[in-house]
């Protein structure tokens, strides 16, 4: 059902946890199956994401996509990170079962919300 990559990120999630006093924080709920994901980012003065963490209440794919997006986004400029799509996340995991594609949406959306939150705070 899941690729080895998905299983790897699911069983050994990277960057799970919270960042106290994060620069930005985004929470999205999943209307399809009622799951929840929060992404925390710490952004430095050059607008680079220095640290990123997640908390997820959802399936194996939701946890794996959360983990994967933190790996992808870490070290990226926030504007660059805004460009990460659900497909980028899914591709990086060697694909997701079609029924689970919405879970990668959740991750991309949570990151976007976190960056928006950061931007709204500094502007």
């Amino acid at each position: 059902m899941y690729s080895d990559k998905v299983m790897d990120h699911f069983t050994k999630p990277r960057n799970s946890g919270i960042i106290e006093d994060a620069s930005g924080e985004g929470t999205v709920g999943n209307p399809t199956c009622g799951d929840l994901m929060t992404i925390y980012i710490d952004v430095d003065n050059d607008e680079v994401i220095q640290d990123i963490k997640f908390k997820t209440f959802g399936c194996g794919a939701a946890i794996a996509t959360s983990s994967m997006i933190t790996e992808i986004a870490k070290g990226m400029n926030v504007d660059e990170a805004l460009e990460i799509t659900r497909n980028d996340v899914a591709d990086a995991l060697d694909g997701l079962p079609p029924i689970k594609m919405h879970c990668s949406n959740l991750a991309a959306d949570a990151l976007t919300e976190a960056i928006k939150d950061y931007k709204s705070k500094i502007h």
């Binding site: 899941y2 299983m7 699911f10 069983t11 999630p13 799970s16 946890g17 929470t27 399809t32 199956c33 009622g34 799951d35 929840l36 994901m37 929060t38 997640f54 908390k55 997820t56 209440f57 959802g58 399936c59 194996g60 794919a61 939701a62 946890i63 029924i99």
Partner: protein, 384 residues
């Protein structure tokens, strides 16, 4: 591996396997042929029929072999509906039946039948008052399952049978989860039609039984060569039937002993989980449930992840989580208990088998405590 998903399917017992082997090898005859090889096959089928009849206190003539529980449910409900549609087009069932019953009922609705779905209380049990109130002039069938596949809750089928009889309505009972696990007596419960499946009682997959009370005539589901006394055509799955018969024989012989053993394991499992894991709850009725079923929910986590991580620990169970279903809908059975989708997300069904022992229970409790802890660590809903 510790297998605790016996309600999904159960391993074939060694005696069952050994009984099947000759019929997968040299005794491959077609029971409809009348030379020696065919007669041997026929004899084996009839022996299996006797063992199954005995298990539910029926007559051998009342036992019809099918391809499984699903076909039995379809055959019973459609068979009554099409046979008696001139008498009435109203059928009563419950909200927590297996999809084999529910989808069949919906099919009938699409063809002009009217269905009443009885609700259940927070423990998953129907009210016989509701049932009495649902009965109409044109009710032709009541279909109420014996034990639920998710929460193991046992319905008051003797009372249902009594009400059905008093009102001269046929009673179908899906006993796929109960036969072989708790006593089932079709006479005592006034059952007209009863579905059984082999692979839930340590027999092979792909074979089931529909009990049809003597004298009751149905429209057929599968027409053809006239096997099974003309009621279910198709070359008999002889090895499957033989295995089913052996499984029934074993279930009958060891019923009391298995019940005692499984209850002890189940109760210990429930006690330890509820004690050890904070915000953990039991779904379904504490007493009135199958000896082998324990269904929990853990707050703030999701079941698919739970199942996969338990799998990595070598433990098999099931969940009612939306995320693990094809439709991304939460378990309708747990919903019927009044639980919210969020609560259902963190559900875990463990269905014990006769192979399990107390050590398994302890290993499983440890693993669940660990995995639930890890998942909660990651969950935004958990803040202890």
């Amino acid at each position: 591996m510790i297998y605790m998903d016996n309600s999904a399917t159960s391993p074939i017992k060694e005696e069952v396997f050994n009984a099947m082997i000759p019929y997968l090898k040299e005794e491959f005859g077609n029971p409809s042929t009348f030379y020696t090889l065919g007669r041997n096959a026929k004899k084996a089928v009839e022996e299996a029929r006797e063992n199954i009849a005995k298990l539910i206190n029926a007559d051998t003539k009342e036992i019809i072999f099918t391809s499984g529980g699903t076909e039995s449910d379809n055959m019973a409900i459609k068979g009554v509906a099409l046979k008696f549609e001139d008498k009435g087009k109203h059928i009563i069932t419950t909200e927590i039946e297996h999809p084999a019953v529910l989808r069949t009922c919906e099919f009938l609705e699409s063809r002009g039948f009217e269905l009443s779905y009885l609700p259940v209380n927070e423990n998953g049990i129907i009210s016989t008052e509701d049932l009495k109130n649902a009965i109409r002039e044109d009710t032709i069938l009541i279909s109420v399952m014996h034990a639920n596949n998710e929460i193991g809750t046992i319905q008051p089928i003797e009372e249902v049978g009594k009400i059905a009889k008093e009102n001269n309505i046929l009673f179908h009972c899906d006993a796929v989860q109960s036969v072989g696990k708790i006593p089932v007596d079709v006479k005592e419960a006034n059952i007209d039609l009863l579905s059984i499946s082999s692979h839930k009682i340590y027999g092979p997959k792909g074979v089931g039984v529909l009990f049809i009370k003597k004298g009751l005539k149905l429209e057929l589901l599968i027409h053809g060569g006239g096997q099974e006394n003309g009621l279910r055509s198709g070359t008999e799955n002889v090895p499957g039937i033989v295995g089913f018969g052996k499984a029934a024989e074993l279930a009958y012989e060891h019923l009391d002993e298995n019940i005692a053993k499984l209850k002890q394991l189940r109760d210990s499992l429930i006690e330890k989980i509820l004690e050890r894991i904070p915000e953990s709850y039991l779904n379904g009725d504490r007493e009135n449930r199958l000896p082998n079923n324990a269904n929990f929910r853990f707050s703030s986590i999701e079941g698919e992840g739970l199942i996969l991580r338990l799998d990595a620990e070598g433990i098999n169970g099931a969940t009612g989580s939306a995320c693990s279903s094809k439709s991304l809908k939460a378990s309708y059975v747990l919903s019927a208990l009044g639980l919210e989708d969020e609560e259902i997300h963190g559900s875990l069904r463990l269905s014990l088998g006769t192979e399990n022992n107390m050590k398994d229970v302890d290993v499983v409790v440890d693993a669940i405590a660990k995995v639930v802890g890890e998942l909660r660590e990651m969950s935004p809903l958990w803040d202890n």
